[in-house]
């Protein structure tokens, strides 16, 4: 399965990181040793969530202020919405994000330890 691999130590805690993929763009959040990843697009008006601010585990979309739980992707402002999640595993300091779509990874190699 196409995936992204990132060194955990290269993910800042508390700030969203955008990783561009040929078919989609992913926003990655690190909270301590936990990592979550979602499509980097607000379901409201498709702003980049990676440009938002995280406070106490809640991301505020920079566009119009919709708020999301960064662990679950649930929208707190409009509960019917949830961010599209990507499956994440962390092993031996390496974060692996499985991508749904069969496409090559074009993420910034200064962030990605390895792209597969």
């Amino acid at each position: 399965m196409p995936h992204i691999e990132i060194l955990l130590e290269n993910l800042p805690s508390g700030a969203p990181v955008r990783i561009e993929h040929a078919a989609a763009a992913v926003v990655v959040f690190r909270t301590g040793e936990s990592v979550s990843a979602f499509e980097d697009s607000c379901p409201h008006a498709h702003w980049r969530l990676s440009e938002g601010e995280v406070t106490a585990g809640v991301l505020e979309c920079p566009g119009h202020g919709w708020e999301f739980n960064i662990l679950t992707g649930h929208c707190l402002s409009v509960p019917a919405y949830r961010l599209k999640p990507y499956h994440v595993t962390v092993s031996n300091g390496v974060v692996r994000i499985d991508c749904d779509e069969a496409s090559s990874v074009v993420c910034d190699m200064t962030i990605c330890g390895k792209a597969g």
């Binding site: 697009s41 008006a45 498709h46 566009g63 119009h64 202020g65």
Partner: protein
């Protein structure tokens, strides 16, 4: 190019020998006497009857009364074509045509050449609502007026490539949340603070993305001059932000754009820059201006209230018929998305209590009384809701925007499908929207 600002989203844009007027709201007391301009236009000598008539085009972004004001349009020549966005339903166009106006619908993103290099492009909102923004190009200059429109990220990115000389932006809350809900005082002040901060952050981000040379906070807020509701103007209790506060937020962000406070009748000219033409009072501390304006307008607000026609006592039957027909027309999928018990507490001599149950198995969906398990409650005067039940008024959200309605919700969550239903209960539009959202 020359742009004269007339408050809210109203701009008169002149270039290449042509003039286009955007969102002419030139009267006071929109939404049942509640909404007044940031500064009263008549203090700057602006009135519908004195307004220049030599205009080639009018653009109207959406149906809200602080953008589409029938009384202002009435004073503008009927042969001026009105440019509007082509929306999913013809409701907005039909309304304008019923006012006797010629409309011209433009597809979102389609640039239209109006002669001598004068071009306009309308952009539709990313939301369910019927809202739009406009880009005008002429004489080598470009002006963007966002109006109240929440554009999608891709459109804003595209606008960022268009070398906008001056952009007019929404910067303030323009609705009833959270002020008209039944929150405790500490909850309310916390929510207001949070909302104001998010609104200013959003403004900064939209300016950053669209990269105008000059950024003007324009649309959004109102001033409430009803003596009983002056508290809505308070920064601690209301979401109607002072434009100078928005300028400060933009300055603090250190963007490449120059933030500018324009008051009504100020002008931007591509040759000479900004010309300050507004009265000096428009630059006085805002709370002082509001206190003075409220005193002066009190007799007019009182007279507006006194002139409101009463409801008739066929209201109960009309209300049940109105809501039942709307809910009955919805597809089951949409009714389930709304998933609400809407309690309507109608006060006044013709009032009563009803609950609209969107999940009732069949008609009647609307029953007398407030259900114990209501999820959303609206308390409204009979005379405000009655004209919507008779069809005399079309845009139900006008009631909500009047700031004369109280709300409660259980749980305390935004039910967006219910809002969409109240905004435009077109069954096909709702069904199509929720098939993809």
């Amino acid at each position: 190019m020359r742009v004269t600002y007339f408050g809210q989203a109203c701009t008169l844009i002149e270039a290449a020998g042509r003039k286009i007027l955007t969102d002419p709201w030139l009267t006071e007391g929109a939404y049942f006497g509640s909404w007044f301009h940031t500064h009263l236009l008549e203090d700057a000598g602006v009135t519908p009857w004195a307004f220049p008539k030599d205009i080639d085009y009018i653009f109207i972004s959406h149906e809200h009364q602080d953008h589409l004001d029938a009384a202002s349009l009435w004073r503008l020549p009927r042969d001026i074509p009105i440019l509007i966005c082509k929306f999913a339903t013809p409701k907005f166009r039909n309304y304008l045509e019923a006012l006797g106006r010629k409309t011209c619908e433009l597809s979102s993103g389609e640039a239209v050449e109006l002669g001598d290099g004068f071009r306009v492009t309308i952009f539709a909102t990313a939301e369910y609502t019927n809202d739009s923004a406009i880009l005008v190009e002429g004489e080598g200059f470009t002006v963007f007026n966002e109006t109240d429109c929440k554009l999608g990220y891709a459109d804003l990115q595209e606008l960022g490539k268009r070398q906008i000389d001056i952009g007019f932006y929404m910067f303030s809350g323009a609705n009833w949340y959270p002020m008209m809900y039944n929150y405790s005082e500490p909850q309310m002040t916390g929510l207001v603070r949070h909302r104001r901060r998010a609104l200013l952050r959003s403004l900064v981000q939209r300016v950053k993305l669209t990269r105008p040379r000059i950024a003007v906070p324009a649309a959004g807020p109102c001033t409430v001059l009803d003596p009983d509701r002056l508290w809505l103007n308070s920064p601690e209790r209301g979401i109607f932000i002072d434009p100078e506060e928005a300028v400060t937020a933009l300055q603090s962000a250190g963007l490449g754009s120059e933030p500018a406070y324009l008051a009504a009748t100020d002008v931007w000219d591509s040759r000479s820059g900004i010309e300050r033409r507004a009265p000096a009072a428009f630059r006085a501390p805002r709370q002082e201006y509001i206190r003075d304006a409220a005193l002066r307008m009190e007799p007019r607000v009182t007279a507006m209230r006194a002139a409101e026609p009463p409801a008739a006592c066929d209201l109960p039957g009309r209300l049940v018929t109105y809501f039942d027909a709307l809910v009955e027309a919805l597809t089951p999928a949409v009714r389930h998305r709304i998933n609400a018990k809407l309690a309507l507490a109608v006060t006044g001599p013709c009032g009563g209590s009803w609950t609209v149950d969107f999940l009732a198995p069949a008609s009647p969906y609307t029953r007398e009384g407030i259900a114990a398990d209501w999820t959303y409650k609206i308390e409204v005067e009979d005379k405000l809701i009655y004209p919507f039940l008779t069809g005399r008024e079309l845009f139900f959200e006008d009631i909500l925007l009047s700031l004369r309605v109280r709300f409660a919700r259980r749980p305390d969550e935004y039910n967006e499908p219910l809002y969409h239903f109240l905004y435009e209960p077109d069954p096909g539009k709702l069904h199509n929207w929720y098939a993809t959202h």
